[in-house]
Symmetry: C3
Subunit: 325 residues, 3 copies
């Protein structure tokens, strides 16, 4: 629990109204909880805010809320993201910085302030950086390098030779470096091509629960700095992804495809292999990308077209088949 | 192995025919296995039943099968579901009710008849209810509450503060309470919004293998009583799902969407965020729900329409493009 | 590191050019790495090969590359798949063949040359074959039989009674034998039908990261010899799959469907239940199979048609809705 004034001071933000309010959590406007700090991002939310039980809001300077304590920030949602860190509960702890049950190869190097949970395994010549946390059941295989401030949630797996930068997080069950799906046909059978490459996750990459990123065949599968991957996403071998991409749940990207920076793929998108998608492309949910995308813009469809064209085609598809009236 | 009479008596069901048949398992009609008890649900299956090797059937009173021992029930498939419990094999056991390798926080409360497997971790102030089983590799983080008669299969993960009711099951690798996919844009980067909420799974919810249910941003993601979730399903943060829903494999539901009761989403459906889907809606496989659904019924399509309209549109889509004949 | 001559000799292949080149890895032509052995499969790659930094190639006899050392094989990609095994790095090792932390039921039979990692659990009457490896966190439940030369990567789970042939691999987090999604409606609730069957993976089946294969209701879900399953694939209960199939990422196959031999389902395909798909069928990505497929060929669409018909329909779908010009 924090006094509102303490929150404002911690982030050097202007505060108007009762600075002694005790804040015991955060909530959305529609959650309407007493004792919470909330926020608004649009001026038309002011009325609901005013009539809510919520005692305090983060809002823009030009949009104070009558009768409520207000903390001001030009980007209230960003401010809330920062303030939220104050309210993060404990997650799981264990005896000792490195739990006595963890199996750590004698050649592995664990930074003096990393924490390693029960039943974790760390392989030969692996490195775990400062302030990183490996939760129970995490397996980190030979020569893996994990940077500083990383969080690997329970039962995440990082296979041999993969590299995680700083501030990388893997949600539970995420798999980094599984074998790519590579076979060569021979006498009616599929012969496995050993997958000798690795996966590189640059700084600030986040990977959702049970997502899988396959190792490259000979070289690296690479995810650029700041890219965020949601749950149950599949990234195939040798994909090269730029920075600050958003890859939403259940999307799949086939082998060797290259994405530029700031590419957003909404949920359940499928991308075929060996394609180039340029910077600043957004693909709407469920779409199929089967050709190169060389111009920034918003695309949709199976297969994709500029989103407006897809919408027109769908409208016609349904209107053409209306029953006789 | 059970004598047929013992089965009939155990469930107080009427039996006709040789009550001394030894039953060593159950099978479907097409499996056609001697020594098994099977069932029929349609009158047109009687002929195949009669000529099969199967010695005994559950059937409706009005549909006895000549030459076969018959147990009668108004709903034979339901009766078989009950009888099947007699034939469940052992799954896995270990020394001691709580295996000596499990790491259980001193403040956690384990009901006297719960069983905890090897390499399980249970966090601070967590509670595990009566008759619940945590299989090996399960991780239950701080303050999690698990009701009675729950089964958590190997390597399932329940993150901090999540709540499971009674008779909840998680298949292997299911993840409950992973971080929601929440970021705010700031200077060209995606800033993580800490996900402070939790997940509530009400009584009798079942979650399939490797499915993921994300914790709410500030409050709860909630799955209503009796809802069954298949494998590789993704439920995003703050989804509110009603009772007795069926969410089939590889379906994804985006953030803050609300489903009523008895909603069925077939396989690979995608639902966008912040929608309302009313009670008694069925959406066929692969469909996209991109708007509110305010009337009960069966829907299909990308995006959805009433299923009949989708079928007509698809028929026209293909007929229009037939090659010249 | 290998001298080129040693590689050629090991596989009895003809070699032309500098046989003393030291090879420290493999690469693709576009990787263009010095010190590596690469390969070409098409004659139009010869020019790029010639001007690359790569010192040595596998190529067809009739396509030597001027200025480069060449190893000859009629199928260069196949040769590279074999040679790649020489360059596989260590993955993870531990003290003792069977790590002291593993919990193995006294009735389980572990072949004298199988290796079992830390925090593995093996159930009652289970059998682990010769040269098989169970990586950390793997759980193998009661009566499971695993053949020879199998590899189960970290945190894979095999539930009770399932059977794996020889040379089967499970990537991290794969789940074999989770409960099928079987319920019977009763008084407005979904009553679970206990899933008494198992999963049989025949020889040389490979299963990708976090894929799930459900156990049959009464009998087996079966995957035929040599079939390769990619990541995040869902195979429902009682599916019967033939030999040498390729099931690409995020595809889902519903209950009791039968696939013949050499069926290829590209990424994100959905197949409804109780269907028959004959031998030698290919279904392109994102398609929906909702009827039997009785003729070999290539299909696409939602729902599928012969691929050419789908392409024509899509072309018309988009051309019909072009804006007025």
């Amino acid at each position: 629990m924090y006094r509102l004034q303490a929150i404002a001071e911690k982030f050097s933000l202007a505060l108007e109204g009762d600075q002694n309010i005790e804040i015991d959590g955060l909530c959305g406007l529609s959650d309407n909880l007493p004792g919470c700090l909330s926020f608004i991002t649009q001026s038309n939310q002011r009325k609901d805010a005013q009539t809510s039980q919520i005692p305090a809001f983060v809002t823009r300077h030009e949009e104070p809320i009558a009768g409520k304590a207000c903390i001001f920030h030009t980007d209230p949602e960003y401010a809330i993201a920062l303030i939220a860190r104050l309210f993060e509960p404990t997650k799981l702890s264990w005896e000792g910085r490195i739990h006595s049950s963890a199996i750590i190869h004698t050649t592995a190097v664990i930074a003096p302030d990393a924490t390693i949970g029960p039943f974790v395994v760390v392989g030969r010549d692996a490195k775990i950086g400062a302030h990183s946390t490996l939760y129970p059941g995490v397996v980190v295989m030979d020569r893996v390098r994990i940077g500083a401030h990383c969080v690997l949630y329970p039962n995440a797996v990082v296979r041999e030779d993969c590299v995680l930068g700083d501030y990388v997080s893997l949600q539970p069950g995420a798999v980094v470096g599984g074998d790519g799906y590579g076979y060569v046909a021979r006498n009616g059978a599929h012969i496995k091509i050993p997958q000798l490459g690795n996966v590189v996750l640059e700084d600030e990459v986040e990977v959702g629960s049970n997502s899988t990123i396959d190792r490259g065949r000979f070289t690296a599968t690479r995810i650029g700095r700041g890219t965020k991957i949601d749950n149950l996403v599949m990234i195939a071998h040798n994909v090269q992804m730029g920075e600050q991409c958003l890859i939403v749940a259940q999307t799949g990207i086939s082998g060797s495809t290259k994405l530029g920076d700031r590419v957003t793929l909404a949920g359940q998108v499928g991308v075929t292999g060996h394609l180039n998608i340029c910077d600043d492309v957004t693909v709407l949910g469920k779409s199929v990308v089967a050709k190169h995308v060389l111009r920034p813009g918003t695309y949709a469809g199976i297969p994709i077209r500029p989103a407006e064209q897809w919408r027109r085609a769908v409208a016609k598809f349904y209107s053409d088949s209306k029953p006789d009236e």
